[in-house]
């Protein structure tokens, strides 16, 4: 498009003899915006099927039916948390289960409870023996999870507490022929004392240093029990305590009893976990994760005390488990203090995901399954456990049970990245955004605005700029007039203005902030000598903004 090939615009006001008026100016042909409107009405953005997929089941119906009446006895908590809402499309009342975990828990525990009925005959011993081990270890993992997850203390002394309690109870049982049911409570006492001792440094040391300290304690316990003449019997451990498994039962009966007893222990540990983590203590501790305690502190939470409480409670529970361990195996061996034991325990927590009960249980299940059930596989099974650990840690932020959240975060990230790359210049509202906006008219406003700008951009030409330079005010050609009208209707924010400096000897362009009390911002360092020049400068900036938008 060049100057001479364009059309001419005749100034209708020329006859009035304005000072700077010219009769004819070159201009560009003005295209009707009706044309533009027709061309733009169809969105050119490729529409992908997006929006949130409602993949979860919606329960129809209303009313306080069964679910709301079901409570956990004796509390007043509902068994399932339901949310009622109206379906915006069908306007039907619907219920959504907010938290489906109770259902999974019930199903999972039921499965574990009836599992012995379905063990194949030629694996019965193996599976039931491993099942009992699983029960005990998952109880330990749950208590450890309370310490690591809820209290946020990186303690490695868990097995030291269990082992100490087990050894002390075994010694007492052997010496004084205590009945088996006394052992867990005694163990709990031992655990409490032990926990009290190691709780003190927990408030002072952090992270790895505490881990080292507890690892040291673990090692001390191992060395002490191995070398001590009292405990270090020639059996590789201390055996001979009474167990709750009657001698005269059949093999299957004994195994089943042990299985269900350990299962019961796990249920107890789960209850404890629920009780600590899901109630006040857990909440205030989750409110104060390590290094981000500010919020909790400000609301008056004494998180140190809470941490020590959780520590003590779970140590007592660990002691209890230690006592139970003795009465289950009839004694205890030094291997409970071994570094490997601690490592496998850590693997159990990490594989499932730190900070959740299901993580502890499933992690333990996986590790115990590979370690105990598949023991005919030899070294391969440790490589598998290691590989699982490695993969979990490399690819998952928080164990197997963090997958869902991580996947969602990843999906949202990808979605928004793609969304932002799809955005056209000029910011018509994006499809995803559009579905989520309440005020749908904004979509149309933006679309209209974009169309207008697209149209106006075609009107910017050297001729029009030249025309503006020549006559700032008065009658303008169609194209320029359209542009100016558009500029005038822009909102206040970042609107340009002219500021006179030094007694009107220079003028500079500023941008209004759009807010009362906020000073305008100087946008360029150029100083114009006349207001007209400045005016044109503003015009040029606006033109440029338009072209850039």
């Amino acid at each position: 498009m060049s100057l001479d090939s364009g059309t001419k615009w005749r100034n209708p006001l020329f006859v009035w003899g304005g000072k700077r008026d010219v009769e004819e100016l070159p201009t560009i042909p003005f295209r009707s915006h009706q044309e533009v409107w027709e061309g733009t009405r169809q969105s050119k953005t490729k529409l992908n099927p997006v929006g949130r997929l409602r993949y979860y089941h919606k329960w129809p119906g209303h009313g306080r039916t069964m679910w709301n009446r079901l409570r956990y006895w004796p509390t007043r908590r509902r068994v399932l948390r339901l949310r009622g809402e109206y379906n915006p499309k069908t306007l039907r009342a619907e219920k959504t289960i907010v938290d489906k975990r109770p259902i999974w828990w019930v199903l999972g525990l039921l499965a574990l409870a009836i599992a012995p009925l379905f063990t194949p005959g030629d694996l019965q011993n193996t599976l039931l023996t491993a099942g009992a081990t699983f029960g005990i270890y998952s109880a330990i993992s749950l208590c450890w999870m309370l310490i690591m997850g809820t209290a946020g203390v990186f303690s490695l002394a868990t097995y030291a507490v269990v082992g100490t309690a087990a050894f002390v109870t075994a010694l007492l049982a052997v010496k004084f022929a205590l009945p088996w049911w006394l052992l867990p409570p005694i163990g709990a006492l031992v655990g409490l004392v032990f926990g009290g001792i190691i709780a003190l440094p927990a408030t002072r040391l952090d992270g790895f240093y505490y881990a080292l300290l507890t690892l040291g304690l673990n090692e001390l316990c191992r060395v002490y029990f191995i070398t001590s003449k009292e405990f270090g019997s020639a059996n590789g451990g201390l055996y001979g305590a009474t167990t709750y498994v009657p001698e005269d039962w059949s093999q299957l009966g004994q195994l089943l009893l042990a299985y269900y007893a350990c299962f019961g222990l796990m249920l107890l540990a789960l209850l404890l976990y629920r009780f600590v983590n899901g109630r006040r203590l857990g909440r205030i501790l989750r409110m104060a994760p390590e290094k981000r305690e500010a919020f909790a502190e400000a609301t008056g939470v004494n998180f140190r005390q809470a941490r020590v409480w959780v520590f003590l409670i779970s140590s007592a529970a660990l002691g209890f488990i230690g006592g139970f361990y003795t009465s289950n195996f009839g004694g205890v061996a030094f291997s409970i203090f071994n570094f490997d034991t601690v490592l496998l325990g850590l693997a159990m927590l990490v594989i499932g995901g730190v900070g959740r009960a299901e993580g502890a249980v499933v992690g333990t299940l996986i590790v115990v399954f590979f370690d105990q059930v598949l023991n005919t596989w030899g070294p391969a099974r440790f490589m598998i456990i290691g590989l699982i650990m490695l993969l979990v840690v490399l690819y998952l932020r928080n164990g197997l049970f963090g997958i869902k959240a991580q996947f969602r975060a990843w999906r949202d990230k990808k979605k928004s990245e793609r969304r932002s790359t799809r955005a056209e210049k000029g910011g018509e509202m994006l499809p995803e955004e559009a579905t989520e906006t309440d005020d749908k008219s904004i979509i149309y406003q933006r679309r209209y605005d974009k169309m207008t700008r697209n149209h106006l951009k075609t009107l910017v030409s050297p001729e029009v700029i030249e025309e503006h330079r020549q006559s700032l005010n008065g009658q303008h050609s169609e194209a320029l007039e359209r542009l100016l009208i558009y500029f005038r209707t822009r909102p206040q924010v970042e609107k340009y203005a002219i500021m006179a400096v030094e007694r009107f000897e220079g003028y500079r362009i500023v941008a209004l902030s759009g807010h009362r009390g906020v000073a305008p911002r100087v946008v360029e360092d150029r100083i114009y000598s006349t207001p007209d020049e400045a005016c044109h400068g503003v015009f040029m900036r606006r033109v440029q903004d338009l072209l850039e938008s």
Partner: protein
């Protein structure tokens, strides 16, 4: 025909015991191959069922035996576990013959205490207490034989802390005191892992005992000890090491520094014709240095079971097989095993006066072997009837 299954829990992954268990599996494999080549047992082939077992962990030991029970094995034969009781408990209802090479009195006294419960459990070798008891008599015998001339009457015992070593040390002290010819001058405690033997050697020099007993169990650390000891030895002392050096790696690790040290095992392959033949056979099948203990024990255990099955006629008749085993001793490459006693444990030779399980004659028991390393080779030097050579002067003797 349906194979006869022999259950072998063996340690493949733990930090301790893997080498011995490997020896054991090799010995059993050799026996199995021979048996199968010769037509099997009762016309049925012999098959091994192996499973991993962590010898330190009660859960794992229990689990390994549970797996054997699930596999409906006809007998269980394995080297040892450090936590015998849970392992034994896992089979008390199944009651298949359970033969192990666990040299631990703790297990056999449980058998004696609960004969009904544990009557299927046999310990193929004499218990560890015999190390201690025999040590005293061995010293006296060596003194009589005259190669070693004790410079004083002192015995210095270096003891590790695990129960096994403690038991041995206690037995040795007891025997030395009972016999009265020597006296225990000092007991030095050490603790696995021993990184630096210098303070221990220093103490040895301080005590300067005529006989030194290093009551430990790790072959590699024994090797390190030998090297350091040879660099600055206690002159003229007779240094006795425990079972550890029987492991093949010991000679490799210690090299020439091992010459002159004496070690013992309550059961090992004899140096007689049969023993040597067996060693040959083993070497052919599994080249490399062979372990001296569990390779033979495994072989003997398998053949013992074979004989019992053949005598009874049906491996599933567990109690009859066990009865046969109790009634019929066997002479194998590692000696004469007679487990017909309340402990169901092999008798020990020579008689050290420790308990009722001592055999008067070589033909009635398993000889404890005292082996000296001579010219880079293990040579059985004691007891007389099975000895290959005599004790010779160690390099640090004047």
């Amino acid at each position: 025909a349906q194979p006869i299954i022999l259950g072998i829990p063996y340690c493949q992954t733990a930090a301790a015991g893997v080498a011995d268990h490997q020896d054991f599996l090799n010995g059993t494999t050799l026996a199995m191959e021979e048996i199968n080549a010769a037509g099997g047992i009762l016309g049925r082939p012999l098959k091994l069922f192996t499973t991993d077992m962590n010898v330190l962990s009660p859960e794992s030991s229990k689990q390994a035996l549970a797996a054997c029970v699930d596999a409906k094995v006809d007998a269980i034969s394995f080297a040892f576990t450090l936590v015998p009781l849970p392992a034994m408990d896992a089979t008390v209802k199944y009651k298949c013959p359970y033969i192990n090479g666990n040299a631990q009195r703790a297990g056999t006294s449980a058998v004696k205490a609960h004969p009904d419960k544990y009557n299927h459990i046999f310990q193929f070798c004499p218990s560890e207490v015999n190390y201690g008891w025999s040590y005293a008599s061995w010293l006296e015998d060596e003194e009589q034989r005259g190669v070693w001339k004790p410079k004083n009457r002192k015995v210095h015992i270096i003891q590790e802390q695990i129960g096994y070593c403690q038991t041995i040390s206690r037995a040795a002290q007891e025997a030395i005191k009972r016999r009265g010819k020597f006296e225990v001058a000092r007991i030095t405690d050490i603790q696995y892992p021993v990184q630096d033997w210098a303070p221990v050697i220093r103490e040895m020099k301080e005590v300067d005992a005529a006989a030194i007993m290093v009551d430990h169990w790790v072959a590699a650390e024994y090797a390190a000890f030998c090297k350091q000891f040879v660099a600055s030895p206690v002159r003229d002392s007779l240094v006795y090491l425990q079972y550890g050096p029987s492991q093949p790696e010991f000679l490799e690790l210690a090299g020439s520094a091992a010459n002159g040290f004496v070690w013992g095992t309550t059961m090992g392959i004899y140096g007689d014709e049969r023993g040597l033949a067996y060693r040959q056979k083993y070497k052919k099948r599994f080249p490399g240095i062979a372990g001296l203990a569990y390779t033979g024990i495994a072989y003997d255990q398998t053949y013992y079971l074979k004989k019992a099955w053949e005598a009874v006629g049906d491996p599933r008749k567990f109690s009859e097989v066990c009865d046969w085993i109790r009634a019929n001793p066997q002479r194998g490459v590692c000696g004469h095993v007679d487990m017909g006693n309340p402990y169901q444990e092999a008798r020990h030779f020579p008689d050290n006066g420790g308990d009722e399980l001592q055999a008067q004659k070589l033909e009635a028991g398993v000889a404890q072997l005292y082996v000296q390393i001579q010219g880079g080779e293990h040579k059985i030097t004691y007891p007389g009837p099975v000895s290959e050579t005599k004790l010779i002067a160690a390099p640090w003797w004047s």
